[in-house]
């Protein structure tokens, strides 16, 4: 075992896949230098400009370029500088990449990955801090991934690159510096897309969440354990297709649920999890499901106000107490 950062994990996944398969390449803004967060820094020295392709600032068209290259057999990984800017790519992701398979009766496939770091980062303000995963979970034909650890980031990105379908891969800016152990099995180390993971076993309450919110949930579980409340933390890892089975299993086990996410509550990922529970395991619930999410407000710049709206461990603790105490 070796310890690396989440950022290194993302880079290693791309590098190993590029070494394994010549069809894999990276395309996006400033990927040559990797100036944004440093994810792609140095890759151009290994793979050259032909496979680490800098583009003009034209996100919509670049998303289409990546998709078009995928339609003709390549396996592009597009880096979108920030998740906020992926809004510019929506047309190509929603109407082209995700529909190419069905619309052509299976003649075409679009094995393209759109990587986009999201989440709050500390006063980056309203247009640089969003978590829009739920938008993408609403698109049939697209897979959506948001891992929380370096090992999973690496293994899931490799799986995404090898997948024959378009995948939206969402990192969290605050996770880039997080360290963790990764397997050194090399190129075969992939995690199946669509499988959730229990990050902490527990018996009283299930906290279902993903991405950076996992760590808020883990801290909350740790604190609550001191009070004798045993929390199970389920990491969705894949937002779409969602692991309904794992969700139902943990609900059957604890009968009480808090669903947490950094994105806004209305129409959010938590809303979908809650609906799955209502559909499939309602009878196992001992209390109403409680959602923890960002209120319907753009993220404010002021650091105190930002901290006030972005959900954290304390909000999760409050929610757990609420489902326990009724």
């Amino acid at each position: 075992m070796r310890t690396i950062t989440y950022l290194q994990a993302v880079r290693e996944a791309m590098e190993e896949e590029m070494e394994r398969d010549e069809k894999v390449f990276v395309i996006g803004l400033d990927v040559g230098t990797g100036l944004t967060f440093g994810v792609t820094t140095g890759m151009i020295d290994k793979f050259g400009k032909e496979r680490v392709i800098d583009t003009p600032i034209a996100e919509l068209s670049v998303a289409g370029v990546a998709t078009g290259a995928a339609l003709n057999g390549l396996r592009p990984v597009m880096e979108v500088m920030l998740q906020d800017f992926i809004t510019l790519c929506m047309e190509q992701i929603t109407n082209q990449a995700s529909k190419a398979r069905l619309m052509t009766g299976g003649q075409l496939k679009a094995p393209v990955v759109f990587r986009a770091p999201g989440g709050w980062f500390g006063s980056f303000a309203a247009q640089h801090s969003q978590s829009l995963e739920a938008w993408f979970a609403h698109i049939p034909g697209l897979k959506v991934i948001a891992p929380s650890t370096p090992a999973e980031a690496k293994a899931l990105l490799k799986a995404a690159i090898r997948d024959d379908n378009p995948v939206a891969f969402f990192e969290h800016k605050k996770l880039f510096g997080r360290t963790g152990e990764v397997s050194e099995y090399g190129e075969d180390y992939v995690i199946e897309i669509g499988k959730a993971d229990i990050k902490r076993e527990g018996t009283d309450v299930s906290i279902i969440t993903y991405s950076n919110m996992i760590w808020e949930a883990m801290d909350a579980a740790e604190e609550l354990a001191k009070e004798g409340i045993s929390c199970e933390v389920l990491d969705l890892r894949t937002i779409s297709p969602m692991d309904r089975e794992a969700i139902c299993e943990t609900v059957k086990k604890t009968g009480k649920v808090v669903v947490a996410e950094e994105g806004v509550e209305t129409g959010g990922v938590g809303a979908e999890v809650t609906a799955i529970i209502a559909d499939e395991v309602y009878a196992y619930l001992d209390a109403p499901v409680k959602r923890v999410a960002c209120p319907m407000i753009p993220i404010p710049f002021n650091p105190d106000l930002e901290r006030f709206v972005v959900p954290n461990k304390d909000n999760i603790i409050d929610a757990v107490r609420e489902v326990i105490n009724g």
């Binding site: 078009g68 003709n72 190509q92 109407n95 034909g141 379908n165």
Partner: protein, 326 residues
């Protein structure tokens, strides 16, 4: 007529017949729609046949093509069979896309047609990506394929048009942008969509060759297309070819040919003075007898194709789900 006196060769005669094939294909669709047999909407290319015949027949089978919502003629001329086109438009499993795409999404990958598009302008980024895949990582040493993308005058107002010309030119891609300028985007005349007379003038801003031609003059279209395609094949880079033309029907099957935004006089002028088929008849010097015979032949081809489509079955509901993911 004695063969020695003929003003044309067999290829030219076939081009003439192909223009009829497109016209009668489109007419038949209108008929099938009015009979309640054909579902959905229709964007016919009646009147614009010389563009499809003149450009697509200069391409090789392994060249790539993207078209737009008005693309039946392009796809037929790239090699698609009328019977499988009709089957697609009627929603049958024997259609190119198993009846899952319909009129706006016909793809025929065997003939290099990587898709039509229901979103105005969106084929352009895909085409840049496909063209990029032809030159990617030293691939140009093994192929001299080109890519062509069709779009309308209306699409030239979209940001992707400009973003894509910029990238294609910067990367020197083997891509020909073909703008079918039929003077209107739905009901809006081009004069109200931009301040320039010739859309191809835009190419200069991207350091690219731009050519504006009479798109109803088949020989001129052929000659120009052949030159620009050859240029792209030989590494001479992308170009923008604007073909001035005119559609005879309404924008889609939902509106009348004239009355709201065009006059009957204007439509009649194009039909009598500028019609690509009538003009080519004169170039070829065909007799009334010969013309009558050709029309009869074409009717027979269309009738047989429609029969095939009508007799085909639709995909079953159980089978449709398998086309969401590859």
């Amino acid at each position: 007529m004695c063969a020695a006196n003929k003003k044309y060769d067999e290829k030219m005669l076939k081009d003439y017949k192909d223009m009829w094939l497109i016209r009668k294909f489109e007419d038949k669709i209108y008929q099938l729609y009015s009979e309640g047999v054909l579902p959905g909407t229709i964007h016919a290319s009646t009147g614009q046949e010389a563009v499809a015949v003149g450009i697509c027949k200069q391409l090789r089978k392994d060249d790539l093509m993207f078209t737009n919502h008005r693309g039946h003629g392009h796809t037929l001329m790239k090699g698609a069979e009328a019977k499988r086109m009709f089957a697609e438009l009627l929603g049958k499993e024997t259609g190119y896309c198993k009846g899952l795409g319909g009129s706006m999404h016909v793809a025929d990958t065997e003939n290099g047609v990587l898709g039509a598009n229901g979103v105005v302008g969106s084929g352009m980024p895909l085409a840049v990506g496909a063209a990029l895949s032809l030159v990617y990582n030293g691939r140009r040493e093994d192929n001299d394929k080109v890519c062509v993308v069709f779009f309308g005058d209306g699409a030239s107002g979209a940001g992707v048009f400009h973003e894509c010309m910029n990238m294609a030119s910067n990367w020197n891609l083997p891509l020909i942008f073909v703008c079918e300028n039929n003077l209107y985007g739905m009901s809006t005349p081009i004069k109200e969509q931009g301040s320039i007379e010739n859309i191809a003038d835009r190419a200069a801003g991207y350091n690219m060759e731009g050519v504006t031609i009479d798109g109803n003059d088949l020989e001129l279209v052929k000659e120009t297309a052949a030159r620009l395609i050859q240029k792209a094949r030989e590494g001479g880079g992308p170009s923008l070819l604007e073909c001035k033309t005119y559609r005879y029907n309404g924008h889609s099957r939902g509106d009348k040919p004239y009355g709201i935004y065009r006059t009957k006089e204007e439509v009649d002028y194009w039909k009598t003075e500028k019609d690509p088929i009538l003009r080519y008849e004169k170039v070829l010097g065909l007799s009334d007898e010969e013309i009558k015979e050709i029309k009869k032949e074409t009717d027979a081809i269309i009738d047989e194709a429609v029969k095939f489509a009508m007799e085909s079955d639709a995909l079953s509901p159980e089978d449709v789900l398998q086309y969401v993911f590859a």
